[in-house]
């Protein structure tokens, strides 16, 4: 039994959460540093995972741990990572420190940091209940649960953390709202709790429906394998060996049960409406936590659980899901264009991006799924960059309305510059990381479903539209009076943004480290789903400059016809 690396990676932030929460009220700053330290240690451990992970190795999962937990439910404490999980764990562990840093003052009592907006003094006093410790403890708790749900290879174990992470998120959204509210604290509070409740109920309903499916899965396995099990690997192998035979109907029902929960989390049109509220009302760092970290669990789970547990049903549902994803892409982008609130705009942009991710996953091609995985990582980074800068901007002016800004570029060039880079990443400009993933997704989709692929490319035009409109309205033009005295980015804020941008550039130019660990996992997934990439019509060796003639190969993949 080697050192339980995966458990440790999840345990550190968990302990950190408790430790941070235990810091006495007076020592606010100490709590912050403590939280930061723990998050950094977690990141270090995540890196260790990434290095200990051997891309080419046999078997789907590595660094596995397995202990008995609840025998009666056939539940084991089974952890293991494949390339996809490694990538996402790394992303999570990477983002949290930035989230903490960016939210450094978000949970301070208002008396200390005189919020730039002149929300009624009374409002400030009543709202002075903001236990900083709690804020950072909750963030760490979320991190721990997210990491565990990435590591879990036991469906039930995954489900538990998938559900449990809602609670801390819920308190983060409802308890620590954005201070930029035009209509005073009262209304802000109501909107906040509305958003929080909406977030929780949407995801809880999804989760409960999934619970039914989970129970169903147990019933089926118990019925056919003698002892019910939730071990993903075991189930997959049993299916391969033909020992486990879900009936078509059952499989589809179970698939839908799982997919619904993940689609809510992802979120997929038309289950998306909780996201704009949540991201709009929460503080920018929490918004990042939602869209860049927590939502990824949904798409990740589609890839790991939906496809591998129910290959048949996945194939059956693919057309419908692709259409929904397509709708999300276009719909999200269009709504983003129509938004008047910066953060809601970014939220809708994210909905559009999640459309791309799901599209890639269900295109069932190597490019599509690798692209989708890369997309999860890149979208995490790019949205974090954009949203955090937006948060800095908002905290300066005290308003989320685009109309309240203008000409910021003149007074705060660095802020504007970073904002622009974030925006360009969001519209996936070549040379920045998101381009690679988006193009892979498009190619992957196109190679199987040309029409859908082409429609999806509309997304890149619309993305340009909402990003540039946002930038133009806020950053360019004559300088607004309220903006005139706006300070440029502070050191802390630069420390947050610069690394993210650097990372975006690096992964845009050299995504190899990522693709190398992701590709084998995707290969395994596809082999479970039993899908092969469509063959190109003409076979030519892709050696650069190798201008040799190829031989025509007939289209072998029937899907390509669709």
């Amino acid at each position: 039994m080697s050192f339980p690396l995966l458990t440790a990676t999840a345990a550190v932030p968990a302990i950190g959460a408790i430790a941070t929460a235990a810091v006495p009220a007076a020592k606010r700053t100490a709590a912050k540093w403590l939280a930061l330290a723990f998050s950094l240690v977690t990141f270090a451990l995540a890196l260790v995972i990434a290095f200990r992970f051997v891309p080419g190795a046999k078997g789907p999962y590595q660094l596995t741990e397995s202990h008995a937990w609840i025998r009666d439910f056939g539940v084991r404490y089974e952890l293991g990572v494949d390339g996809i999980a490694v990538a996402l764990i790394a992303l999570t562990a990477l983002l949290i420190p930035f989230v903490i840093l960016a939210g450094w003052h978000d949970a301070d009592p208002l008396e200390e940091t005189a919020a730039p907006d002149s929300g009624s003094a009374a409002g400030n006093r009543r709202n002075s209940w903001r236990p900083t410790q709690g804020f950072f403890a909750l963030i760490l708790a979320v991190e721990a649960m997210v990491i565990l749900s990435f590591e879990a290879t036991d469906v039930f174990l995954f489900y538990i953390f998938f559900e449990a992470m809602l609670i801390p998120m819920y308190f983060l959204i409802g308890g620590f709202g954005d201070r930029a509210h035009v209509h005073g604290e009262e209304q802000a509070a109501t909107q906040r709790s509305y958003a929080a409740v909406k977030f929780l109920l949407y995801n809880l309903v999804g989760g409960l429906i999934m619970l039914a499916a989970v129970i169903g899965l147990y019933a089926v396995t118990a019925d056919q394998l003698g002892t019910g099990t939730f071990s993903l690997q075991q189930i997959v192998e049993a299916r391969a060996a033909g020992k486990l035979e879900l009936g078509t109907g059952t499989e589809r029902l179970l698939f839908l049960g799982f997919f619904f929960a993940f689609a809510v989390k992802a979120p997929l049109w038309p289950l998306h409406t909780w996201l704009p509220n949540a991201m709009g009302e929460a503080t920018a760092p929490v918004a990042v936590l939602i869209t860049a970290v927590v939502d990824k669990v949904g798409t990740f789970a589609m890839l790991r659980f939906c496809l591998q547990l129910f290959p048949g049903a996945s194939r059956w549902a693919t057309p419908a899901i692709l259409v929904l994803a397509l709708i999300s892409i276009v719909y999200g982008a269009l709504l983003a264009v129509g938004q008047r609130d910066i953060k809601r705009l970014i939220a809708y942009a994210s909905i559009s991006h999640f459309g791309f991710i799901i599209l890639g996953i269900f295109a069932m091609t190597t490019q599509g799924q690798s692209g989708a995985t890369l997309y999860m990582v890149n979208h995490g980074i790019s949205t974090a960059a954009l949203m955090l800068v937006a948060g800095f901007l908002i905290s300066r002016r005290g308003s989320r309305l685009i109309a309240d800004y203008g000409g910021v570029q003149k007074v705060a060039p660095v802020l504007a510059g970073t904002f622009l880079v974030g925006g360009l990443a969001t519209l996936s400009l070549p040379g920045l990381a998101p381009f690679v993933s988006e193009f892979l997704v498009l190619v992957g989709t196109f190679s199987r479903y040309p029409v859908i692929g082409i429609i999806a490319t509309l997304g890149i035009v619309l993305a340009a539209l909402y990003v540039l409109v946002l930038y133009q309205r806020t950053m360019t033009g004559p300088v607004k009076a309220e903006v005139r005295s706006m300070p440029d980015l502070r050191v802390r804020e630069l420390v947050v943004v610069a690394p993210l941008i650097a990372l975006l550039l690096f992964l845009g130019v050299y995504p190899k480290p990522l693709t190398d660990i992701v590709n084998p996992a995707v290969g395994h997934t596809l082999s479970v789903v039993d899908k092969k990439d469509p063959k190109p019509a003409v076979q030519v060796d892709a050696v650069p400059g190798g201008a040799r003639h190829g031989h025509a190969a007939p289209d072998q993949d029937v899907e390509a016809a669709k």
Binding site: I70, S193, V205, L211, A219
Partner: protein, 550 residues
């Protein structure tokens, strides 16, 4: 009237003077838990009569705690002695079964009661009257509220220490209820634990009108339902010619062929069986608080003194479900195909009804009452499974649920304003900001009710639904899931209220309880989390206890 003659012959036969009646043979050891508790109750009455007022409180408290602890020890001893499994047997001339479920439930009831007694004995929450510490029971129940007699009683610092022996009697009844092995015992046990509860309900110190009203309602409806139960028993007796579970089960399963044709009209008449079974079921469902026999629950829960409410909500449910299980699994398995669909229906309406009505409640105690109804529905889903898994999952759920409930009501006793407990939800606004700890604890209980993972509620719900699904009740599970989604809504509403809404200026204060209530709450939280994180051991216990003797 062809059969008159034969009937007459029967009459003469029956009229013969029976020979010497054999003295009953009682296994005292195996009945010790019950006997200890009832004995303690009797002693308690003596204490009331003998000891001076001043020392009664402590005497009673000590007595009941010791008794319950001893009884629990006895249960453990029996279980360790293998009476739960291998040596399980019918005791007391077939009146009482000592087997796994019985012992498990008795153990649960005793533990719950022990914790409940702590909350009974709490004397720090209410402001001291005339320098004398008072608990949450009326100074003198007989005195007219607000009347001179009451004033005097309060001035004299009277406290109703009788609640302890009364509660002990109730507990005794509850111990017998799930282990009763014939219908007569069932009925007697029912009354034995109901009557004391009626009285306890009437003993609130504050808002005595509500308290008395609750008692009246509970009493009348309780008596009404027990009348139905009794009539059902009569019919079953008529059907089978006996009231022992085993006997009836036998007749039910092999249709009573060897019966004298003269009695074909009654004996083995399915109408008798079905109607009787239905009426008996109704009597038990009433105690369980299942729709449509739940009407008493909200009113009584609201009116009764909160410690009593907690005790009732937790212990009564355990006992009643125990009896229900035994009835369905021991007496009526033969007619499973008749009662299962009916219970399906009951479970569904109970789950949905409880959840839906709870949405618009404005009083925390009523809210919890409706939530308890919804939970009764969930447990019924497990009862319907008719499998060993079903039994053990129900046992586990009961254990988990009872402690959550107890804890929740214990917290309710802490939130007070001038008029005693502040149970109106609007008063709870911003509680999380006034006293985060209490709010957090209550949130934990609510999340457990809602069945969020890592709490006992989730483990229980999963176990029950799993059993149901495996017995082919998949759609019941789906409906259960939906209704728990609905239920989640109002639990969350309370959390929102406590944490995310501005505290009212005239909001309630959170009283600092004595170690008694603190321990009660602490135990509640502990059990909730332990059963949520590492339920395996307890699932094993329930699993081993999952076999009825017949």
């Amino acid at each position: 009237m062809s059969s008159v003659a034969s009937v007459h012959s029967l009459w003469t036969v029956a009229a013969e003077v029976p020979g010497r009646i054999p003295a009953p043979h009682i296994e005292y050891a195996q009945l010790s838990p019950t006997l200890i508790v009832l004995g303690a109750a009797v002693i308690g009455i003596l204490v009331e009569t003998v000891l001076p007022r001043s020392s009664r409180y402590y005497a009673q408290l000590a007595l009941s705690v010791v008794a319950l602890a001893a009884a629990f020890a006895a249960v453990i001893g029996l279980a360790a002695g293998g009476f739960g499994s291998s040596k399980a047997r019918i005791a007391a001339m077939g009146a009482i079964a000592v087997d796994g479920p019985a012992l498990f439930l008795q153990g649960t009831i005793l533990l719950v009661s022990l914790v409940a007694v702590f909350t009974f004995a709490e004397r720090r929450l209410d402001p001291a009257a005339h320098g004398k510490k008072v608990d949450s029971f009326a100074a003198q129940a007989a005195a007219v509220p607000g009347g001179a007699a009451e004033q005097a009683a309060v001035k004299a610092g009277f406290t109703t220490t009788e609640v302890f022996p009364i509660a002990l009697f109730a507990i005794g009844g509850m111990l017998i209820f799930p282990s009763a092995n014939d219908l007569l015992m069932l009925f007697v046990a029912l009354e034995v634990f109901s009557l004391p509860l009626y009285i306890l309900c009437a003993l609130a110190r504050r808002q005595r009108l509500l308290s008395q009203e609750a008692a009246v309602k509970y009493f009348l409806l309780g008596a009404f339902s027990s009348a139905f139960l009794l009539f059902g028993i009569a019919l079953l007796y008529g059907y089978a010619g006996t009231v022992t579970y085993a006997g009836i089960a036998e007749v039910v399963s092999d249709g009573a062929k060897q019966i004298d044709p003269a009695l074909a009209g009654t004996m083995g008449n399915d109408a008798l069986l079905l109607i009787g079974a239905a009426l008996v079921l109704m009597g038990l469902l009433f105690k369980v608080g299942a729709v449509p026999f739940h009407m008493w629950t909200p009113d009584v829960y609201q009116g009764a003194p909160t410690p009593v409410t907690g005790f009732m909500a937790a212990a009564t449910k355990v006992a009643a479900f125990g009896a229900l299980l035994r009835l369905l699994y021991v007496v009526l398995p033969g007619m499973r195909w008749d009662w299962r669909p009916v219970m399906w229906g009951v479970a569904i309406v109970t789950m949905l009804g409880g959840a839906i009505v709870a949405i618009t409640q404005t009083d925390i105690k009523r809210l919890l009452a409706y939530s308890s109804i919804a939970h009764a529905g969930f447990i019924l889903a497990g009862v319907i499974a008719t499998s060993e898994d079903g039994i053990s999952s129900v046992l586990f759920y009961l254990g988990a649920y009872s402690f959550v409930t107890l804890g929740a009501f214990a917290v309710v006793t802490l939130v007070r304003d001038a008029g005693g407990e502040a149970t109106h939800l609007s008063k709870w606004a911003g509680l999380g900001r006034r006293s985060p700890l209490v709010a957090a604890v209550f949130a934990v209980f609510l999340l457990a009710f809602a069945g969020i993972p890592l709490t006992s509620g989730f483990a229980g719900k999963f176990a029950v639904f799993k059993a149901a699904a495996q017995s082919g009740a998949g759609w019941l599970v789906v409906i259960g899931v939906i209704s728990s989604a609905i239920a989640a809504f109002f639990y969350i509403r309370v959390i929102v209220l406590m944490f995310f809404s501005e505290p009212k200026a005239d909001g309630p204060t959170v009283a600092v309880p004595s170690p008694l209530t603190t321990t009660a709450i602490a135990i509640g939280v502990a059990v909730t989390l332990v059963l949520g994180l590492a339920p395996q051991y307890f699932l094993d216990l329930a699993g081993q206890a999952g076999v009825f003797i017949r």
